[in-house]
Assembly symmetry: D2
């Protein structure tokens, strides 16, 4: 790391800082520029809380050089969910309703998706809702329904977990999703790191790319290298769409880590009439997969009907996605 | 609620929308403006997912009229923590280190605070850290230390909880804090709603005032009316301070709810040299309390040393705060 | 518009509000919901300052129903720059250096672009730079160079204007660009509205889609219907890319107006290694054109070298863009 | 500056980078850390475009050490407007309507303000309005009215300029305001730098503290050291208030520059019922002045009535402000 010293710093304080750093085993290289003294600190800072140095009055700025993460750069490049591979040339699509509402509802959608060639079904059991008065999900009952659908259709199941206490019930789930609001629920991440199931880690809607990577690092250092990242839009001042899909964030994950990264245009948009463009744009930009909300009757959905595509619209999008995937040398 | 119909809406779809709303028990008042048809929907929408209406193709916009919350407006105005009252004329100050590091560390600070007249001691046991390599807190050991300090000094204890599984260990904590990252950990909120201890609910750094209120509503509807709100800065594009303290957000809580609301200038600032101004500004603007990080040797702090005030600086601030409180007709 | 009345409103104040509205020629429809009284106000609000109504103490919220714009919805769908059409099936690419530095520099790039089939050359004469110490552009000399290049290559010229006083010098410019920082320089917009040249209106990096449309409305109501919109990223908390390209904003313009809309992935990214993904994503999502910075020696660029593509990289991108355009039924 | 080299950088490219920097006259200090090679670049970078270095493929990050500004740190600490001093112990209040609507309107307010002891009157002549259909200000007529009011009451005049072409008409204005939307209208800043009148430079609603300082640097390097900064709220995701007043930004200006800095709680709030808290908070936090919108009949205001205080409310606030100023050792 690099430490920029204040212009009017007290020499005694600077000395104390240097001794403190040396006592931690760092080598120092002091340099005097035209405006500031700069201390180059050489050594492994991965587990060192560099912000604590601001406690020294002489410190103006502490600049990190070493990346704060490690495992994500050498982790699995290809993550398998059943026989589906994320991170390879083929781009998997995960589709399905926001929340499981009944067996009939989800079975109908599942069969249609199956017929189209979709291999992964999403559906929520425990819903993280802003209001306590909103539908909170069917919980365990939803997980039973998903198991039945899986048994009957062979689709792989993707489902969101919202508490460590639910882990034991997720046995039949093939890909466990951590939602945006739980991206920094570190107690949950640590527990998921003990499983050998793949984890779909959504970006928090107000988290930086670096924080998102650090959350993946939590899961991987705990023992589970099978992490798939999912960009789902960040919160900005713009209100036309619910969130702003950060396509540069998708590219950033590919540059900074070895993890596969998919896009969720439905939650980013918050309204179905923006989903097509965002989905096509994500695939062209290089996303390794998509997560799309599909509902047979969105206007009756108990959750997030606003952003769900009707089956017919999804079929049409699916066809367009195939063409765009081919144009960038991949396939769906 | 009000529904704005698209200009080119299909009449059949509009009819289906109307029938759907009537079937839910709402009364409708249709009105034709110069540009759009508007449907006024009369009835209780508190537990109705109004966004699902976007599933109807004819809907351009759904506008909520009724507030999405209820309990927070009639809940306790004064919340007691031991014999300290939040929401009254006296403004309580909560102070202490970010994390409990050792008994010696916290006992020293605690005694100084006690002597000054501070009645509430904060200190973290389970730390929500961005990096898995950062100090994660002493956990149960920290809670034991806090109990000892409490027994010896009589200070009331404020401590953050990060998982439902910790609740049983928080018996001796007087005010349980929900951190910014857990503001929408709804499973946690529901469990805290079953306790009869006061809860300090921090605003998520990317959550709107309305979402923050909805999280309080989760706790209160679950049975616990003793909620104190805490503004701690929101994430913006500005990087000089770690977050931007939203003083209008403090005022908003006072206008929209009956809950007391305090400010945490330390986490908003992220650097100790901004804490004074933000603390004084918050009290002048009407905050019902403050949460301030104080550390005897911030440069050796294992967590958030950057924003901790040294004891001497805190003493000086405390004096200034008293003067400002009096100037707005209150006291500390 | 809809006016939501406060629960505890004073009846006399509500009466004054009603009389005030009626005196402005509006018809009123009063409705009593379960929580609030609501006044539907019928009439043309386009030129009415609805916010002034908050001056009445009884008003809780004023909700606009009629769009605040008009001309942009019926304006030119196809905008011609020379013989190039924006908004049609073919997607024009504008390329070139950030700033004109010398005749040699720009002529070299221009000839290469011409050979590739690019028809529009960009190059800055007056640069809006954050620092007064940064290169401010060659001004009129740059405009002379651009004319020479135009005469020799036949390329159409795109150049940014930063002040009304420059208008007379832009005679040979084929498409006048309004930069992000001038999107709400209303005096400039009014003057550009008097020209019969097409205008490329960039979105301010902190402006909503609606504000952006209102700025187009300024130009069109002043008499110039030839406006092309350009999304160039918005400012968010994320710092990996300089700005966040808002692809949903591109789609929004197409839904809300009849204007063509292009993307500028270079300024959104702020670093060349993100440009490819954003460019491809924009075209797949439906953008009507692209603006890309290309420089022969970016490391020697006097402005924005960080985000400029080298010629070879641009050639490779150009090929990929053609394939993606075809995959969505268009061509480049 | 510090340059962080990519781990997999090509040695030839690094050599070219070094030669390039040396050719610019910089001294280099190369250092090898555990993860990256780092090049310390010693020399004056004030007028060097450090971003251009990203054009070298080997560069991962360029980190500025020297501040990008200079004049603002040594400029006038006290700025005089007539006989009123900004930056000293006394805190001046600027008050008045958003826009000049008629002589009667402004004279009535002016006389009341005069009687209270307020010395500076604000009033808009040219209004920067989002919509072309909104009231655009009376222009020159407003400036004539302001002159008459000044002659009759002796109040000092504060008025916003929106174009270089208006400068000649601002002769009788005592403090020329640059609005938020023009903070980066560099052509305007350069012209104002040639005047010997004080300039009130508002922060753009999406500009960082550093960018704001750079705009002050534009004015000062052009010859005019009399700059007063004005924080007026930044754009965030929160919509309860129109903008979020950044009190830490006020403190930042005081730490980074020698310029006086005031707050505009009216524009930050966007609604009058938040103005009191923000005004009191700003003064307690250390603001060197306030700019407050006051209107005799806000509900009839042609601009920004929503945020204007009625005279009676302003009188009450004025009294509270005096008390808070005294509590922090200053006076109004």
């Amino acid at each position: 790391m690099i430490i920029k010293i204040k212009k009017d710093a007290d020499a005694t304080n600077v000395d104390r800082l240097k001794k403190h750093l040396e006592s931690k085993g760092f080598d120092l290289e002091v340099s005097q520029g035209v405006s500031h003294q700069v201390i180059g600190v050489i050594g492994n800072t991965l587990s060192y809380d560099i912000n604590s140095l601001y406690g020294f009055d002489c410190v103006e700025e502490v600049i990190r050089i070493q990346e704060p993460f490690k495992e994500v750069t050498s982790s699995e490049k290809l993550v398998k969910v059943g026989d589906v591979v994320f991170g390879g040339n083929t781009i998997p699509i995960i589709a399905g309703p926001c929340a499981i509402e009944s067996k009939e509802q989800v079975m109908e959608i599942a069969k249609t998706l199956k017929k189209m060639g979709v291999k992964l079904l999403r559906g929520g059991a425990y819903k993280a809702r802003t209001s306590p008065y909103s539908f909170q999900g069917l919980g365990k009952e939803a997980l039973s329904i998903l198991k039945e659908v899986k048994d009957e259709t062979g689709l792989l199941i993707v489902c969101e977990i919202t508490s460590t206490s639910q882990i034991k019930d997720f046995e039949n789930v093939d890909l466990i999703q951590v939602g945006a609001r739980n991206m920094q629920n570190f107690e949950l991440l640590k527990e998921l790191g003990k499983l050998d199931k793949p984890i779909l880690l959504k970006r928090g809607f107000a988290n930086t790319v670096e924080e998102w990577i650090m959350s993946a690092e939590y899961i991987i250092t705990a023992g589970n290298p099978n992490v798939i990242m999912c960009e789902r839009g960040i919160r900005t001042f713009e209100t036309y769409s619910r969130n702003t899909l950060d396509i540069a964030g998708i590219i950033a994950i590919q540059k900074l880590t070895s993890l596969p990264v998919i896009a969720d245009p439905s939650h980013a948009a918050g309204r179905w009439d923006l989903v097509n463009g965002l989905a096509l744009g994500s695939v062209a930009a290089g996303a390794d997969g998509l997560l799309i909300e599909v509902h047979s009757t969105p206007e009756k959905a108990l959750s997030d009907g606003a952003q769900s595509l009707k089956i017919e619209r999804f079929k049409s999008l699916y066809k367009s996605l195939k063409a765009v995937a081919v144009s960038v040398g991949r396939k769906i």
